[in-house]
Symmetry: C2
Subunit: 169 residues, 2 copies
């Protein structure tokens, strides 16, 4: 299937959300305990914005924070904010933090070991594909997600407060 997990999806969406908040809210609005990258958003807020299970997102954000992509702040008005500018956080980092190392084939492991050790003959060509995908994702930043260059925009995604599913596509 070659697909990334829902967790990674959620993580990307959350980062995008934070990037938008940071950009829109102006840095000076509320002096937040983060590192000045806009206002901190709680896991619950983000989860509600996208209708994803709050507890699950909470765990994802924890992982992201542990990996240095987010900064967290506990307490009453705590939450998460980006650890770096959105343009300097790549989708690859997010995915690897959540889903672990990115290997297209079961052969390519950290040690290069393979259960088909000697006789796995397709390893090398696939490694190139693997690297290409990695490069591909490394070239995609959160800022790119948040601010699509010129793609089609027939989707009305205005902040739907407590809205229902609005099937647009």
């Amino acid at each position: 299937m070659l697909r990334l997990t829902k967790k990674a999806d959620y993580g990307l969406m959350a980062l995008k959300y934070l990037a938008e908040q940071a950009a829109g809210a102006g840095v000076s609005a509320a002096d937040t305990p983060g590192s000045g990258q806009g206002s901190a958003q709680s896991a619950k807020d983000i989860a509600e914005a996208y209708h994803i299970p709050p507890q699950l997102l909470a765990k994802i954000l924890q992982v992201l924070a542990r990996n240095g992509l987010l900064v967290s702040h506990a307490g009453t008005h705590g939450g998460y904010s980006l650890a770096r500018p959105a343009s300097q956080i790549t989708a690859f980092e997010v995915i690897r933090a959540i889903d672990g190392p990115l290997f297209i084939t079961s052969c390519i492991t950290i040690h290069g070991a393979c259960d088909l050790a000697g006789h796995c003959t397709i390893k090398e060509p696939l490694r190139k594909v693997n690297d290409s995908i990695k490069d591909l994702l490394s070239g995609l930043s959160i800022a790119d997600l948040a601010d699509p260059p010129e793609s089609s925009r027939h989707e009305n995604e205005a902040a739907v407060g407590g809205g229902l599913v609005s099937i647009a596509v």
Copy 2:
């Protein structure tokens, strides 16, 4: 994890094996359809060559045959052979035949439907990545696996046709 399944691995290895057999069997290069030469290999042979479970490989080959990538021949000296020249069978076809449609994110489905229907905002950028990966795999043929191009080249621009690595969004 973004990795393809072991079945797809096995499938690719098997195709590569068949390509090599076809090429080495005296017939002109790898560009020979699976007809007329006794180079049909049984599932058991291939399985033994790579030490993979024979019955599992058998099922994989069946799927491949059903999808028109292999031609099968039952009977005493039956077996499988490539339905097309190895250079005209892409890794993408193999993977899709075995692992099903290739979608990087759970949002992108056949109908475009998404459980996060309206509010999945990262769908479009990721679709581009998805397409790029698809192009990447479509540019990799079985012949490339069997006869690895000079890997001393730059990694990303191997045998791939268009500028697919340039996502840049």
